[in-house]
């Protein structure tokens, strides 16, 4: 039945299918009452082949692109009898939902008794139950404290099952909102079905099926061809989570090793930490979905369709019983902003290293992109006694990594979605009894480099007209390790942090500060929160938080000094860090002092050359890849590089605030070329590894 279809007809019908699918997005964005959906773009829509392969994805969150088809396949294998008009509801992470908030609706599309396609969408519901408000269960220790998992038939042959709808909504703390979101999802499927029917009527079912299959085949061939144009090699990285649940302060790792061989990519997560008694764990499906995100963003972009075409060329190895393939009954309800986020961060970095090694696609290098979701949920009662709850959207203001040809984007949103956005301050204040004191760009938050990373923003919020507000802080990580990798000698960006400044005389705050720029100006006692925390915000407390910055690209002392002067002038880099990292000195009138700058940069080079070789402290591992010095045009074995280890505050005044800019766990390792002193790599490393020798190589 697979009929031949010419490239023109193919393009025309494929475009039409894309638009039919996009109708789902329009319906969802219009109907949903959830800012996570409308501003955060945390939803997606898809069309699937009869056997459940994704053929057309929408422009919602990319993280859903890699997992929606798993749900359809599970329905196909587990549902009793699938009939025209049925709609299934699944939020079970072990059946393909990322976490329980992500409620997936899928429905078969029949033409005369023949199952032709599946229509589906997934939407992050604001609350689906569980121990914690918002269902990001930062206190859960087992799956049974997580929100309930469903596999339900919501509509039976076109008839809404009201008992099911009731049961689903009544298990939520926000029954009206989730009911509305469910309406949005049903409306979306309804819209897509109607238009698919007219398309099939127009073109015939054979042609539509042929196009659907060919979409996947074409993307597959395109993707393989692109891979074949990239160099083979192996690249590894490690991302670190500092604290998996409230009260936990341990470090947990996601290790990722990318092996690229001809037209195939293998992401091997062996070495990642054992699964934890906390809801940050990923199921295998979530790990797979998180891994492929940078492949869509940086390899497919707008040229290769976002569908299952690439799955044949990607293998994801994730050992059972680890945080990247947690087994039943591990809790998983915050996996999307937990380990799934770190999986994407790790995959992004190794993909960037692969692209950096290529000559044709170096313009796609980007080693980090808003590497933590510093989600702050506030909830409580309004002055009128009504329940409110909202996720502050400021965590989307983080920076992206620098590019190989220009600075990174500031306030870049998420790598999973180019169409997300920050909410307006006024919208947030309209929804919840809070008052913003400031929302500003955070100076020195971007990783230094020849090209600077993107900056993040810092936000301060107080309760308004209520005595108390509850805060659930669900930060991916970032209070010690930033994970905001730089590349090619660029520094990492700052990690994310949430703090409560206690004992601030809020009533007179405006009188006492000329300008509120940072939490220091609030004159209170800062309490730096762990990355997962449950706190209450009282009358004299100020909530302050920032998302991560982006990492830099290349050695900062190779940055055009005039660009650094601009950065100083526009409040992106302080004088102090301009001098320390970029070697840029300015004169009184904020102009460049060119000769002092040249001298300073020379000093930096001399200092670097005086550092001992890495090999004096660390035995080389077979995994080590030689670094490339572009200036000397040669490979430099890691052991031969000059090594310097310093405290996190070297990167930014906002790094590792909790431990005063220092850390007994993590250090910044700088590796430079022994010949020309150019920085080849700057990494966040486990300090214990170097511990005994710390005095010798520390600055």
């Amino acid at each position: 039945m697979n009929i031949d279809v010419d490239p023109i007809t193919f393009e025309v019908i494929k475009q039409r299918l894309w638009q039919i699918n996009d109708e789902q997005s329009v319906a969802i964005r219009t109907i949903s009452s959830s800012p996570i959906v409308v501003e955060g773009n945390d939803f997606n829509v898809g069309l699937f082949t009869a056997d459940g392969r994704l053929t057309t994805a929408g422009i919602g969150s990319l993280v859903h692109v890699g997992t929606m088809s798993v749900v359809v396949k599970n329905v196909l294998s587990k549902a009793d009898r699938i009939r025209d008009g049925d709609v299934y509801l699944i939020n079970d992470p072990f059946l393909g939902a990322l976490h329980q908030n992500d409620v997936v609706l899928v429905s078969p599309f029949f033409v005369k008794d023949e199952l032709v396609l599946w229509i589906g969408n997934v939407l992050h519901h604001p609350d689906v139950g569980g121990t914690d408000v918002g269902s990001f269960c930062i206190n859960a220790r087992t799956l049974y404290q997580d929100p309930p998992r469903y596999f339900l038939k919501l509509c039976d042959r076109g008839i809404l099952n009201t008992e099911v709808e009731y049961t689903f909504s009544t298990n939520s703390r926000l029954p009206e909102m989730v009911a509305l979101d469910l309406k949005a999802q049903l409306g979306a499927i309804h819209a897509a079905k109607q238009r698919l029917s007219s398309l099939v009527e127009e073109c015939g079912v054979e042609l539509v099926s042929a196009v659907v299959n060919r979409s996947i085949e074409t993307a597959s061939v395109q993707f393989r061809t692109l891979l074949e144009s990239l160099p083979d090699g192996t690249w590894s990285t490690k991302t670190v989570m500092d604290g998996a649940r409230v009260g936990d302060n341990a470090l947990h790792y996601v290790c990722c090793r990318l092996v690229k061989e001809r037209g195939h990519l293998t992401f091997d997560f062996t070495g990642s930490s054992p699964q934890v008694d906390a809801a940050v764990n990923c199921t295998y499906h979530a790990t797979f979905a998180g891994t492929v995100v940078p492949l869509y963003s940086f390899l497919c972009q707008g040229d290769i369709d976002w569908n299952d075409g690439l799955v044949d060329h990607v293998t994801v190895i994730a050992p059972e019983g680890t945080v990247v393939n947690a087994t039943f009954p591990a809790p998983v309800s915050i996996c999307t902003v937990g380990m799934r986020w770190l999986v994407t961060v790790a995959a992004t970095r190794v993909v960037a290293e692969m692209l950096q090694a290529s000559s044709a696609h170096k313009d796609r290098v980007c080693s980090s992109w808003n590497v933590a979701a510093n989600c702050n949920n506030v909830f409580g009662l309004t002055p009128e006694g009504k329940q409110f709850g909202t996720l502050l959207s400021d965590h989307r203001g983080g920076g992206a990594g620098a590019r190989s040809f220009a600075d990174g984007f500031s306030h870049a949103g998420q790598i999973t979605s180019f169409a997300s956005s920050l909410g307006n301050v006024e919208s947030a204040e309209w929804k919840a009894p809070i008052l913003y004191l400031f929302r500003k760009r955070l100076i020195d938050s971007a990783g230094a480099g020849k090209y600077r990373g993107g900056l993040t923003a810092i936000t301060a919020v107080i309760p308004r007209e209520v005595g108390q507000i509850q805060l659930n802080a669900t930060n991916t990580a970032g209070t010690i390790y930033s994970n905001a990798f730089g590349i090619h000698g660029g520094y990492p960006g700052v990690g994310s942090q949430t703090l409560i400044v206690r004992g601030v005389e809020v009533g007179t705050i405006f009188e006492r500060a000329e300008q509120l720029d940072t939490f220091h100006d609030l004159h209170g006692t800062p309490q730096f929160l762990d990355s997962k925390a449950s706190e209450s915000l009282n009358t004299n407390d100020v909530l302050v938080f920032f998302a991560p910055g982006g990492g830099g690209y290349g050695d900062p002392i190779d940055r055009d000094p005039e660009s650094v002067v601009d950065d100083i002038r526009f409040g992106r880099v302080s004088l102090r860090y301009a001098r320390a990292l970029y070697g840029v000195v300015t004169s009184d009138v904020q102009g460049l002092d060119a000769s002092a700058t040249a001298d300073e940069r020379d000093l930096i080079r001399q200092d670097r050359l005086r550092r001992p070789s890495l090999a004096e402290f660390v035995t080389a591992s077979s995994e080590d890849v030689a670094l490339v010095c572009e200036k000397c045009n040669e490979f430099v074995p890691r052991g031969k590089t000059n090594a310097g280890l310093s405290a996190p505050r070297r990167v930014s005044p906002w790094a590792a605030l909790k431990s005063n800019g220092d850390s007994d766990r993590m250090g910044i390792l700088e590796l430079s070329c022994p010949t020309c002193a150019t920085l080849l790599s700057v990494e966040e490393v486990d300090k214990s590894y170097f511990y005994e020798l710390r005095d010798e190589i520390c600055e």
Binding site: E11, V12, G187, T218, G397, A412, E429, Q515
Partner: protein
């Protein structure tokens, strides 16, 4: 009694004169980009000359002169406006830099470009960061003052902006739409210490919820206001020098005209007013011809613009993007654009064939123009297929090079895809045509309508060769190609009503309370008051005035509103009516299942639109010009599905009224060519419009 419309939007500066009984005269000259008024005077000279009168004499008979300009749009796109100093609430100085995150970087970009994560470079900021100052003040969500602004602080900030070289000032304080007192204090301070500086207050220009969009609106207005005012002032001056005493009107994106006196305050709505003229002219034509549901389609060199008119009303865009990353909070007529024009470039990677959004525009233009572009375009495909005759393009003034076009399509498209030349050319044509159908389908569906119930009104140089095909695809049965199509925007500008619009956000729960009713009615009064302030107190009493309100309503917590037409003040017993209207609109768009009776509604904005016609326009039947049947030329063309076809090519001027021409056929008229597909008919009505009837296959 002559009404002039002059549009300087494109390659040509078009002029239309509408006589007292509706008769139309038109002319065009090449636009003069650097000084648009030169071309205006030139085209007026030409109009006068064709009547053998002097320009002064000609202008003395003109009753109104309406102008559509791109001066403001170009100044914004190229960032050639004033040096703006921006005052915001202290602590929020980075509002334009943070820009709601990715929205401020990729918002407004065509999607295929936005999906390229790493090459979406933000544009140059409207306001340099060193020209932003925070004022020590704060108003809360309920409008109460949390931190009182002081004169001394404002003075200091304003002076520091003046010292930095600010040439105009924009002010956008948090919640100022709810309580403007601090912005008004800024106004009075600026009035005292820097009265020469143009000043824009967000509470006056765009009193709507959402500080980013409001700041953008205000800053854009301060950025292009002075240049716009200066340009209009000098045009008014030139016209006055020629003895023209009557009013000058300026086209706005909100679907009507304004006056030079108000053009500074409304400068932001002069931006992107270009395509609005055409949709206004379509509305008029629809009214005359009794069409209640119209889709307008306008394809030019770089883009394809679509609008909807339902029962004489336009669809609206409440937060249109003016440029990459710049959404505003002033609504405009909804015209949706995709990068599909004659100059749109076709590309392939050997797997897929794509057309646009990149465009060769009109300069260097398609490959067949022979001006250096080597990438094949839609026009090149049409030349290769024989739809456009190279020798008679633009009335023979610009012969095209078919061979260049053919080589380019063959090398860049046909060979990599393994197609022959004609298949490749036809492919480009099909893909661009179906993307037009897709766009129209999307817009009608999103508005809750079925495209098959619409009549299509087509204008713009490149639409004629595509409209028959995409209309068939959409199940549309009737196409109108207006007599004035070559200058349709200018025609719309000439006949546009005077329009005043104002919006006020009053976010509140819709409930049966005196308090709600009072705030609602206060809001209505204040909107009407604003209108009186702008147009004079007697204005609302004039006989021809139409007053129209809209409510932007949503379920509590939603992020997007539904606009509902509303008559005016509210009585407490009418409140359920709002719910009924809302649910009806919702049902139409999303089906009955989406309605959720239990959820409460909230009102976000009330909007006012007041319009007054400049004159009563009529349409004048043309006297028969073609006297005898001229035999058409027969040409062979390549059609995507029917392959080689022999078609009759008719000259527009030779077509006799009400004589049906059966497709396949081609109609040629100066700068445009119209394709009449098989199984369809076309005829010229008494007004000179071409009416195409399509039949299902």
């Amino acid at each position: 009694m002559r009404f002039l419309g002059v549009d300087t939007g494109g390659t040509f500066t078009d002029c239309v004169e509408v006589g007292p009984t509706g008769e139309i005269r038109m002319d065009k000259v090449f636009s003069t980009r650097d000084a648009p008024d030169r071309a205006i005077l030139e085209v007026l000279e030409q109009m006068a000359r064709s009547e053998s009168v002097s320009l002064t004499d000609y202008l003395s008979g003109v009753t109104s002169f309406s102008h559509g300009t791109t001066v403001s749009t170009n100044a914004l796109i190229q960032r050639r406006g004033s040096r703006v100093g921006l005052l915001v609430t202290r602590g929020f100085e980075d509002v334009l830099e943070i820009a709601r995150g990715p929205l401020g970087r990729v918002g407004g970009l065509p999607q295929s470009l936005a999906m390229d994560f790493l090459h979406t470079e933000p544009k140059k900021p409207l306001v340099e960061r060193t020209l932003v100052r925070g004022i020590d003040e704060r108003i809360s969500a309920d409008g109460s003052v949390i931190r009182e602004a002081t004169k001394a602080d404002i003075e200091a900030q304003v002076l520091s902006l003046v010292n930095e070289g600010a040439e105009s000032i924009a002010v956008c304080l948090l919640w100022s739409f709810k309580n403007p007192q601090h912005e008004l204090l800024v106004e009075s301070v600026v009035g005292e210490i820097a009265p020469q500086l143009p000043l824009c207050l967000s509470s006056k220009i765009a009193p709507r919820l959402g500080e980013y969009e409001r700041t953008v609106t205000t800053a854009v207005n301060a950025f292009i206001g002075p240049i716009t005012k200066q340009y209009i002032g000098s045009l008014a001056h030139s016209l006055a020098d020629l003895g023209y005493q009557q009013p000058l009107y300026i086209m706005k994106a909100s679907g009507g005209v304004t006056t030079p006196r108000r053009v500074f305050d409304e400068a932001v709505s002069v931006i992107n007013s270009g395509p609005v003229g055409g949709i206004i002219a379509s509305r008029f034509l629809g009214q005359v011809l009794g069409e209640t549901k119209l889709i307008t389609a306008d394809m030019g060199g770089t883009s394809f613009d679509v609008g909807l008119i339902i029962d004489g009303r336009f669809e609206e865009q409440t937060s249109p993007f003016l440029d990459q990353g710049l959404p505003i909070s002033t609504s405009s007529v909804k015209i949706v654009t995709i990068g599909a024009g004659g100059g749109s470039i076709a590309t392939t990677d050997g797997y897929r064939l794509r057309v646009g959004p990149q465009s060769a525009g009109s300069d260097p233009g398609p490959v067949c123009y022979g001006r250096g572009n080597v990438d094949p375009t839609v026009t090149d495909a049409l030349v290769v297929m024989g739809f456009i005759e190279p020798e008679s393009f633009f009335g023979g003034r610009y012969p095209l090079d078919r061979q260049l076009a053919a080589n380019s399509i063959f090398e860049k498209i046909a060979r990599p895809l393994g197609l022959d030349l004609y298949q490749a050319a036809a492919g480009i044509y099909q893909i661009v045509t179906s993307s037009m159908a897709d766009l129209i389908r999307k817009i009608t569906v999103e508005a809750g309508y079925d495209s098959r119930k619409f009549t299509l009104c087509c204008y713009g140089g490149a639409t004629g060769l595509h409209c028959g095909e995409f209309a068939k695809d959409l199940g549309i049965q009737k196409i109108i190609i207006p007599y004035a199509a070559p200058v349709f925007s200018a025609y719309g500008v000439a006949i546009a009503d005077t329009v005043f619009t104002a919006t006020q956000s009053m976010p509140s729960l819709i409930e049966k309370s005196e308090y709600f009713v009072d705030s609602f009615n206060q809001c209505i009064s204040s909107l009407l008051h604003k209108c009186e302030q702008a147009l004079g107190e007697e204005f609302l009493g004039r006989p021809q005035i139409t007053v129209y309100f809209k409510l932007d309503v949503r379920y509590v917590g939603q992020m997007n509103e539904v606009a509902l037409a509303w008559p005016g003040k509210l009585n407490i017993q009418d409140i359920p009516q709002i719910t009924e209207l809302f649910e009806a609109a919702y049902r139409a768009r999303f089906g009955a299942t989406a309605v959720r009776g239990k959820n409460s509604l909230e009102l976000i904005n009330i909007r006012l639109e007041v319009s007054e016609p400049k004159f009563e326009n009529k349409l004048q039947p043309l006297s028969e010009s073609a006297k005898q049947d001229v035999d058409p030329i027969i040409r062979e063309i390549y059609h995507p599905t029917q392959k080689w076809l022999k078609v009759a090519v008719h000259e527009f001027s030779n077509i006799i009224q009400h004589t049906q021409i059966t497709g396949p056929a081609i109609i040629q008229r100066d700068s445009t060519t119209i394709w009449v597909p098989s199984n369809s008919f076309i005829a010229r009505d008494q007004y000179g419009n071409l009416i195409m009837q399509l039949q299902g296959e």
